[in-house]
Symmetry: C2
Subunit: 202 residues, 2 copies
Amino acid sequence: MSRIPATERRAALAHAAMAVIARDGVAAATTRAIVAEAGMPLASFHYAVGSRDELLSDVIELVVAGEGTATLGSLEIDAPDLRSAVRATFGAYLDLVRTDPAREQAMFELTQHALRTPALADLPRQQYDSYHQLAAQLLAAGAERYGAQWSLPIDDLARFVIAITDGFTLSWLADRDDAAAERLLDLATDALMAHTLNGAPA
Amino acid sequence: MSRIPATERRAALAHAAMAVIARDGVAAATTRAIVAEAGMPLASFHYAVGSRDELLSDVIELVVAGEGTATLGSLEIDAPDLRSAVRATFGAYLDLVRTDPAREQAMFELTQHALRTPALADLPRQQYDSYHQLAAQLLAAGAERYGAQWSLPIDDLARFVIAITDGFTLSWLADRDDAAAERLLDLATDALMAHTLNGAPA
DNA sequence: GTCTATAATGAGATAGAC
DNA sequence: GTCTATCTCATTATAGAC
């Protein structure tokens, strides 16, 4: 691990930290665990980063930049109509949560930690802006593809999507009730579709 | 602090821990902080409880028993119809979150911590069962009071209510956008009311 | 520049005096 | 039974050898 510029080390540490956090949670992301994940000696940590919270800030930047949600942005849904597409996208997110629950939990933990840490308290706003933008983008793309229109401001619907997504994830993490989660997503789909105008709008 | 039975001390510690957690978060709820809150010497902690996680388990029991949600159960809403009552109840919850954001955040932190701690991993299920029961009870009471019926199983609607409530709380904690939160609750109310039959059911 | 070795701190838990 | 004083451990952070 020699001859590597500090900025690259910093980035490598942030990625290693995200891996540790996704696997074991924020509390387990000690400086030791992070450098072990990155294959660096302990002293490299403060050589590159200054403090643990500073690195966690970098990690949230990664999430904001989309590294935590990349899977959803590149999703390709093949559905006959908008309703099916919406439901399938929710379903794809459910699969994501079921495949890697610890990762989704880690996103919540990062937010909570940042909210409790004065130096990081601004980051959750950016994090949720990023989520809302992703949802709005998916909603807009869906409407365009199926020739429909949303009858409410897309930002309001995006916030609803993120809220129901977060809420559904939390309850699933708590009780792992797949069937109830599916029914909840049906309900969420109904709620969204109640605010569409398809074909020729008024 | 003499002559107090161990079981009472244990309960006192659990309440003190909940106070600390509600104010400063789970990570700040060290044994020292908890006994300071309770006005006890440090050694009383392990005299009464065994371990920190054991006490956190007690704290979640308190939440499950309703101490974290008592405000909502005793809510008295005065509204002309079911829709207004639903919206007002959501609004009351928003007020609760705005009045004591740290407390609501603490509920999330307790869940996350329990999920990451093998000895406590069963508790989130009970915690969410308790939430779902509270929501179901509120939905049933509302329908009865206004002579309406829900056209979906009340447990599914209860899960939707808790999900949207959690999700809305998380986004509000992140960006403190009151206006957006109100619009989200309007949307959630619409979604619920789409599943009512009022007057004479089929 | 890099990393071994070591502070310095704060944590959970306990021994033993009263 | 109760609590003071202490132990042991893991943590963040740094000093100083190479």
